[in-house]
């Protein structure tokens, strides 16, 4: 259900695999996060994603379980990449399947909000003028609080 990996992923392939042999799924929402070439500084040449092996997997599993307890979901797939990534590369994939679209949309949004504030990943950006660790955003914390306490 969840994977933390260096390799790239194919959202189309993952979606096909999730839907394989299923006729009860009425909606699937897919979110892919990509590396931008601008963020805190312009001209980003790439970034390195660090994580805390072990805790990362358990944090992602806990987030998915929390989503499953809040919405009736029929399938969830989360892939987060680590290591060196270049602009345009996909970083994260969240696929959420449900009988109805509302649950799928909301659960996907929820998983991303919680992932950005609770899963132990850190980004270090490489630019033409040096490297820096990306700072956390207050807006991410606000977004996560929309869902109330868990």
């Amino acid at each position: 259900m969840i994977d933390v990996q260096h390799a790239a992923f194919d959202p189309g392939f993952e979606q096909t695999k999730l839907l394989q042999g299923r006729q009860d799924i009425g909606a699937i929402v897919s979110f892919t996060g990509l590396v931008r070439d601008f963020n805190e500084k312009p001209d980003i040449l790439g970034m390195t994603l660090e994580h805390y092996p072990g805790m990362t997997e358990s944090a992602l599993n806990a987030i998915v379980e929390e989503a499953e307890s809040r919405w009736p979901l029929q399938g969830v797939r989360v892939i987060h990449r680590v290591g060196y990534l270049a602009p345009g590369d996909p970083i994260v994939l969240v696929l959420v399947a449900s009988a109805h679209r509302r649950a799928a949309f909301e659960a996907c949004d929820f998983i991303m909000d919680y992932l950005k504030t609770r899963a132990p990943f850190w980004k270090k950006e490489h630019t033409a003028s040096g490297h820096h660790w990306v700072a956390e955003r207050a807006s991410d914390q606000r977004d996560a609080r929309r869902w109330g306490e868990s």
Partner: protein, 266 residues
């Protein structure tokens, strides 16, 4: 790895770049010149006998970059598309810091041009200020970054403070690592915090904790090295056995305690 400027007979030769692909290449080099605080003050105020020091040194650096091939024997003559020289006045260290950036779309790197530009800019600063200060020292001329080309991108790793002393020691006794049978708390520092503290992992003997909590662990770490005060920053998070914790979280022997900055994934 081999030196590209030596041929198979070990003689110096100029590398034939005709078949190399044209790519956008950029290099950045830096260096500095340390001087008396009084000289630095005169330089900032424009009070030196030879006039506007920084403007002159900037032009000198740009000219030097363009003429690198005349100075360094095996360098190619390059049509640089950009040369920029920046100066920063560092009053704390009493020095002028110079940075040169060179760019071109071509077949050979421009790091020699950037390094030459910085060197000549610093030499010019010396010339412009030597009437009032002959003790100036030019230092740490180095490549900071280089992009484009076959050998790949290069970025200098940021310098770290001296690593924190982590070994267990008592006065008059030197030990390497901890004895295997000592029950410990295993501490990890992650991401930016690891780089800031210059420490990855260390073991703290469990019996040394006066209070068996995360707060007690922080207290012991602070006793070892004052830099661990940074763990008290409210931004720093902690996890005990990979579950988020806080100062009050109780610890037992063999627990893994990780300290890290706010997460930024997704």
């Amino acid at each position: 790895m081999s030196l590209t400027h030596l041929n198979t007979r070990g003689e110096a030769h100029m590398v034939d770049v005709a078949d190399k692909a044209e790519t956008r290449r950029e290099a950045r080099a830096s260096g500095y010149i340390t001087m008396q605080p009084a000289t630095l003050a005169l330089l900032s105020a424009g009070g030196l006998p030879k006039g506007d020091v920084l403007a002159t040194a900037r032009i000198a650096g740009i000219q030097a970059a363009k003429r690198t091939h005349e100075l360094i024997p095996l360098c190619h003559m390059l049509a640089l598309s950009k040369v920029s020289i920046d100066f920063e006045i560092n009053e704390t260290e009493s020095r002028v810091e110079a940075t040169a950036t060179c760019r071109l779309s071509g077949r050979t790197g421009v790091e020699m041009e950037a390094l030459t530009a910085v060197s000549v800019a610093c030499l010019t600063l010396y010339d412009m200020c030597k009437a009032v200060d002959k003790d100036m020292i030019i230092g740490e001329i180095k490549l900071e970054a280089k992009t484009g080309g076959k050998s790949g991108d290069y970025y200098r790793e940021p310098e770290r403070d001296s690593p924190i002393v982590t070994g267990e020691y008592r006065s008059g006794e030197v030990t390497v690592g901890l004895r295997q049978d000592t029950p410990c708390v295993h501490v990890k520092c992650l991401a930016e915090l690891r780089e800031r503290l210059g420490i990855n992992e260390l073991d703290v003997p469990f019996e040394s904790l006066k209070e068996q909590t995360v707060a007690g662990l922080k207290a012991i770490l602070r006793e070892r090295d004052e830099r661990f005060f940074q763990l008290d920053d409210s931004r720093v998070l902690c996890a005990v056995n990979q579950v988020m914790g806080s100062d009050g979280t109780p610890l037992t022997a063999d627990d893994e305690v990780a300290f890290f900055p706010p997460v930024t994934g997704g």
